[in-house]
Structures are given as C-alpha cells and as structure tokens.
Symmetry: C2
Subunit: 245 residues, 2 copies
Amino acid sequence: MPPFDMWRTREKGALTEINPCGACPVRSLTVCAALEPEELKRLADIILTQRFESGHALFSEGDPADSLFNVTVGTLKLYKLLPDGRRQITGFLGTGDFLGMALNETYSYSAETVTPATLCRFPRRKLEGLLEEFPKMQRRLFSMAANELAAAQDQMLLLGRKTAKEKICSFLLMLSQRAAHRGQKENPVYVPMSRADIADHLGLTTETVSRTFTQLKTTGVVSLQEGSKILVADMDALYDLAEGA
Amino acid sequence: MPPFDMWRTREKGALTEINPCGACPVRSLTVCAALEPEELKRLADIILTQRFESGHALFSEGDPADSLFNVTVGTLKLYKLLPDGRRQITGFLGTGDFLGMALNETYSYSAETVTPATLCRFPRRKLEGLLEEFPKMQRRLFSMAANELAAAQDQMLLLGRKTAKEKICSFLLMLSQRAAHRGQKENPVYVPMSRADIADHLGLTTETVSRTFTQLKTTGVVSLQEGSKILVADMDALYDLAEGA
DNA sequence: CGATCCGTTGAGGTGCGTCAACGGGAGTGG
DNA sequence: CCACTCCCGTTGACGCACCTCAACGGATCG
C-alpha cells in the first residue's frame, strides 16, 4: 500500500493511483497472469487503479459499457432488477475476478461494492486492442468465462431445485471453496454481505435466511464469530446438507 | 439431406456422414462462421456429423469430456441432477449452438436430445489445436460464451425472483426471440419440449406448468396449435406478463 | 386391447413469503 | 454524555403460491 500522498482524487467516490502491474500482488489470480513482463507494461499504460467505499455503484444495467474491471481487493455484487424492484444478485466477485464484459454497447447488469474495494479499470476500446495483440490473454479470459458459466449453472440448480437450507449450505460451501482457491482461510468463512444480499442471491427473503442460519446454529453445524465470520463446525455435514443427502 | 446410402452406422444410436463444412447451411450461426474457406477444410477433416433420435443421451455429467458439438438441426437440453433425482435443465440448445466446453477432464452437466437432431462432433484435442491456429474462431467462441453467460444471468433472475406465470411468459418470449434470431418464425412459437422439461427448466412442477398454460389460454394471451406450436395472440401482453408489469 | 406416457384437472398440504414487532449497534446532534 | 434515529438481524403469527397426491382421458405402441 503506497503512502496516502501517492493517491489523488480522480472522480467522485474514487481514489486513483498509478500502479505498476509488475508489482501487482494478485496478478496470478487475474487475467493478467497470462502476460509477460513487457506486455504487462503495455497493460499498465491503459489501466487506472481505483479504490471505492462499500456500497458504491460501479455501473448500472443499461449504462454505456466503456470500462472493464479487475478486482484486486474487496467484494462486489452483480445484480439485475425487475421493474417493480425485485432483485436477483447473479454473483459475488472477489480478488482476481473480472467484470464488465458486455455484448452490446451497454451493461446487462449492475455492479456495486459490498466492502471497500480496489479495482483496475480498463478502457474497453484499449483492452480490445490489447486482446488482439495478446492471444494468451484472450485465452485466459475465455477460460475465466467458462468458469463463470459453470458457476452460473450450479446457481441455476440451486435456485430452481434446492430448499432454503440446501441453498444456505451450498452458499457457505461456495464461499469457503472460493476463499481456499484464492489462498485465504477456508474456515471460518468470511461472509461480508448482508442478509438482504444473501437472500437476493439465493432467491429467498431476509427472514428465511435468518431463520435458516439460526437453525444451522441450533443444530451445531455452524457458529457465528466476530467480524462477519462463520465457523463451520462440521464441514462434512455441510456438504451433505447442501445436496439434500 | 443426402440419400440414405450416404449414411453409415458409426456407433450405437448414431448415424454418421462425411459433410463438407463449406456447404453447411447453418454455418453463419455457428462457431464456424469465423473461418475462411481453406480453414473450413481443416475443420472438416476433424469433424464427424451425426444424427440422433429424440431422447438420446449425448453425454452425462462426469463423463470424460473428449468431444465438443455443434448443433445443426434439432433441439437439445442440458441438465444437472441432485443425488435424489431432482433435475435442473440449465438450457435448451438449437441450430448454431455449441456445447461440450469443459474446465477439467469431465463434463459438468448432461446433454440429451429433445427432438431428432444433427450435430457436428469435434474431438477436443484436435479442436484445441485448431483454436491455437485460428484466433478468429477463438474470439467467436468467446463471444458465444459471453452470450450464454448473459442468458444464464437472465435465467437466474427468472428462477430466483419470478412467479410461475412470469416464468412461463418469459420462457415463451425467449423461445420466440431465439427462433427469430435463427431466421425462423417467431410466432407461433415452436415448443418441442415436454411439460416435465419446461418445469425442470423453470423450477416448477409439470402440474403448475400445465395450469399456467391453461390460465394463459383462458385469458386469451396464447392458444395451442397443431404440432407443438403455441400461437401468441397478444405479444405485448406477454412482454408485460413476463416482468410482472 | 392392455400398457405406458403425457397432459390436464381437482383437492389438500406446506415451505416459504408477508407483515409486524423488537433489540442492538452505529451514526448524529444537542 | 445522552437521546434520537436508522439500519440490520431476529423472531413470531399468519397467509398463500406452489407442491403433492390422485384421478382421468387421449395418444402411441407392441
């Protein structure tokens, strides 16, 4: 982390710094993992690193899609809304995740920070140019998209066919596994999002989420800890509960 | 369609022919759209064209993933199962769609024909080789994956937050729009899949699907026609009903 | 002509939503 | 420091959209 005087205000709600990609501590998790040192310099020329407070809207569904982002620190949520305000959170993103891909000229979902977060912003045109030049990066991006697609299919199974308890257990397992994948602690599970966010991700209400957590605590499967952490007492039981066994 | 004697049995349940990609009538819809004539020849060398009856399982979740497919004719379903048999159909595929992408060495979902179908089969190793050579095809595949991802997000919104009636209307609209995209009639909508398949796609039961169709018929929004076709009498009403307006 | 499958309809049950109340923590202003 | 207000999470009482179970008719097939 650079001293504060290296930061400068860039736009409302964002702090911007110049960050050399070569020194990026999370590069191995991102699209940038595919690049050689000199390619990284080219990349560093087009990106901005920005820090946002929690609850900051990066962009909304329908906005012109002229930026793409890489999460380096923090958690984000992506969501879609129905006209009457019903909301579906399609996914939570963390360190290494990439967002902002758009088919047309506008975003098809909204993105908002859940915790304070640091992101690398790529101007869309310039990134597309680099992708032409760096086929390795193209391939890396493709394999990340394939991963997201598999996760989306799991989520469809969850939303369409699982009970409330199975949904909560699957969600905790997913968080645990993703933390492990990023080299973080997999237990206790860090759960930074609110009950409302969890509900809108799992197709439930906050009340049902709360009741189900209480039930899991009562039966001794999990226990709550300081700082939005959930200790899984019986990981095997959680696996079984997640699939209805 | 070639005369029958051009077909030869290749494996149980499949008929195989040699098909020059250059003459493929649906190429513009597929991954192959990106290729030049001489590249198409290279592609033709590695593919098999196969025809399957309806209800044929192409592969199952967990099978070794050594083939990829392109749908030229017919409809398929992709699905995942829970241990107790609950099923979620993550999507229906038709002309031009691509399937079989796998992250590891095994498929993460099952695939089965809904109608008689014709597919081009690509051996995975050989296709990966060609993708290295043809970056245009790589890009085309990526944009198709991005499309699928957007569709998956729509489906999550549907599964998590829509009512039964909204689900059915959204489903009909989706079928209509996809037919239009393929240059087929968008109304009446061709609905080749069973009530059970629709239910497992929308997170409902067959009874609820049936009842909801009856309700839409009664209120004059749609009417059933011969040959699995549904005539949408009031397309605007269908749009409104699909989003709860 | 029985057997099977599929779609439809009815009657009744339930998992989760809705509505409401309450308590604790954080921020804010006096 | 307290008083006030939010916001969030929890819990209870109740209702309902959809599920479950069951019956039936039509189509297909050996």
